[in-house]
């Protein structure tokens, strides 16, 4: 109790808490760095973490695009797919511009080269799509991006002569390490590093003037424009930027780092909806929150495949064991839907938001200002309702 009291007093100011928050964050990063060295962990656990990192990148970049910039896109998976497919096609077929007389043989393109080109093309498509989307808002934008990603998926599936169809497309392996354990170790650090780098870059963008402008546009595009924010430039910019991030993540992940081939099923609306659900549950407006949401949600979806309900002591089930085993099947997705709906309704900023807010000390500042405002509360005019 005494310890708790002392603890509470040290964290009772914003700076202390923030410091404490950095320590916790550091510990989490240290845990991830140490994790693959734990000899008791199997390669499978690392594989799960690797795909967790991948989805964390997807969810956090979607949070940047939708939560911070307010561009409600369902095309995120498609951009990921563009990165991966372009990288794969280029490494397989090379680049040929017959009319310009350019022909680069596939052998002369390294895996890294293919990934870079894939990333650039994803950014380029992001540029075009971002430009097309300038006139569209909210529901229209969501619908258009759904159409775009469905078209892309159908094309990848139908033009199987080029894309491999539902057999998927193998990318050139990024790493050539024979030993499975070492390879997994390296893949783990590679993907984790990519996640950290992406988070840092996105964090930097979100906290730069650009992030400020994006949030202003999210709140009210017309008002932001009237305040001199070049809404066209930043809207396109954020599409290009997030497309490149997910294009890169896709190209790397499918270059035999997390998976050895990309299949069109990965681009289905369901997969996209899972990303959105991760981000919503973790917190749409926080990059770290969305990343953690993806990581935790995936873990939970995995862990709740089978739910064991232990019976009180002395009771047994008909087969003599002390617990019921419930194969959750589709129920766990149904539950996931419920969590998503309730999160949206009652904890708009995600389940992790209170924790993040607490560490940031933001609520203390709020309390102060609220009390200040109350003190000179002699105005009878009421806050206006939503500006929407």
């Amino acid at each position: 109790m005494a310890f708790f009291k002392r603890f509470e007093s040290t964290i009772d100011n914003g700076i202390g808490r923030r410091r404490f928050g950095y320590i916790v964050l550091g510990l989490i990063i240290l845990f991830f760095l140490w994790f693959p060295n734990d000899s008791s962990q199997s390669n499978y656990a690392k594989t799960v973490f690797i795909s967790g990192f991948f989805y964390a990148i997807m969810a956090s970049s979607w949070a940047l695009l939708a939560g911070i910039a307010g561009q409600f896109s369902f095309g995120h998976m498609a951009f990921m797919g563009i990165g991966a497919y372009v990288a794969g096609l280029i490494a397989r077929d090379g680049i040929v511009f017959a009319t310009l007389g350019i022909a680069i043989s596939p052998e002369s393109i390294s895996a890294i080269g293919a990934i870079i080109i894939g990333t650039l093309i994803a950014g380029l498509v992001g540029l075009v799509i971002g430009w097309l989307l300038l006139r569209l808002r909210s529901a229209y934008l969501a619908l258009f991006t759904i159409a775009f990603s469905e078209l892309f998926r159908i094309m990848m599936l139908t033009e199987y002569d080029y894309t491999g169809g539902s057999n998927g497309l193998s990318l050139r392996p990024l790493l050539q390490i024979a030993d499975v354990d070492t390879a997994r170790q390296v893949e783990y650090y590679l993907m984790f590093g990519l996640l950290i780098v992406c988070l840092l870059v996105m964090h930097w963008v979100a906290n730069s003037p650009i992030g400020l402008f994006l949030r202003a546009m999210r709140e009210d595009e017309d008002a932001a424009s009237a305040l001199g924010v070049n809404v066209v430039r930043y809207k396109i910019l954020i599409f290009v930027f997030t497309s490149m991030i997910v294009g890169l993540a896709g190209a790397v992940f499918y270059s035999d780092v997390g998976s050895e081939r990309i299949i069109p099923e990965q681009l289905e609306v369901l997969q996209m909806s899972l990303i959105i659900a991760y981000a919503v549950i973790g917190g749409m407006e926080s990059l770290v929150g969305a990343a953690a949401g993806a990581f935790i949600s995936r873990y939970l979806l995995e862990a709740t495949r089978e739910v064991v309900i232990a019976l009180p002591l002395g009771l047994t089930t008909s087969d003599g064991s002390g617990a019921f085993v419930w194969e959750t099947g589709a129920w766990r997705y149904a539950l996931f839907g419920v969590i998503m709906v309730f999160t949206l309704r009652y904890m708009r900023n995600g389940l992790l938001h209170p924790i993040i807010t607490w560490f940031s000390g933001r609520d203390l500042i709020m309390q102060e200002t609220v009390s200040k405002r109350k003190s000179d509360d002699d105005y009878d005019d009421q806050p206006e309702a939503g500006d929407e």
Binding site: L212, A224, T369
Partner: protein, 244 residues
């Protein structure tokens, strides 16, 4: 700001069958305090929207300091030196008051030193008597405080012409006083102000020149006393149920 040159040339805007703005022409060439009045639906807000680049005119042209601005996006217009507020305030709700101030600050001067800008923002907030709300989310502000915040944001832009759309509507009298002071101060800084308001008293008290819109057309443009006695204006106001 010494050079002010706004020219509105036969600007029209149609919505479907409704002629919202009908060949309006006027110009502003010196730091004047201009009132714009007209009955409800006279096209005041539409004209403001057209001038500030929020909507494109159907025809006509607008020049600001020699540069064609009609049809240009709002941010271009803003950067060319024309700032505006909104009739229904548009505070950026889930951003703090300081962040609200920083948006135009950084947009206007991309390379500026952030802390210097913040300093300036705090000064302006102090001037507007809302410095105690600096770290508050602007959605939590009262209507009047939001009006003040909008005015503050304009100062960060340093525009040469300011359009104030109903700055007094629904504002507590004490804050109205602050807004009065603000208008005088800005005007003394050498900026032109176009003031749109239903509050005839305020408009007549403040303005040096009046523009009267009726059914989208500009029916009078002159000194308040002259306009008051203009038969067309009287007709416009008396011939219809005047609101407010």
């Amino acid at each position: 700001m010494s050079n002010i040159n706004l020219a509105v040339n036969r600007v029209s805007k149609r919505f479907g069958g409704n002629q919202a703005v009908d060949h309006v022409s006027f110009s502003v060439t010196k730091p004047e305090l201009i009132g714009m009045i007209g009955p409800n639906g006279a096209g005041k807000t539409t004209l403001t929207n057209v001038m500030s680049g929020m909507i494109k005119p159907t025809s006509g042209a607008i020049y600001l300091n020699g540069k064609r601005i009609d049809g240009h996006p709002a941010y271009d217009v803003t950067r060319a030196g024309l700032g505006r507020t909104f009739q229904i305030t548009r505070a950026l709700g889930r951003m703090t008051v300081l962040e609200n101030m920083m948006v135009p600050g950084l947009a206007h001067r991309p390379g500026a030193n952030r802390s210097a800008l913040e300093e300036r923002a705090r000064e302006i907030l102090a001037l507007l008597t809302i410095e105690h709300l600096t770290n508050e989310y602007s959605r939590a502000l009262s209507g009047g405080q939001r009006k003040l915040l909008e005015l503050g944001r304009l100062l960060m832009l340093e525009p040469s012409i300011i359009i104030l759309d109903e700055p007094f509507a629904g504002v507590h009298p004490r804050l109205q006083e602050t807004i009065y002071q603000y208008i005088h101060r800005v005007h003394e800084d050498g900026k032109a102000i176009i003031l749109i308001s239903h509050d005839m008293g305020a408009v007549f008290e403040l303005s040096q020149r009046l523009l009267v819109l009726h059914h989208g057309a500009l029916i009078a443009d002159g000194a308040p006393q002259d306009v008051k006695s203009d038969p067309a204006v009287i007709e416009a106001y008396l011939g219809h149920d005047e609101e407010d």
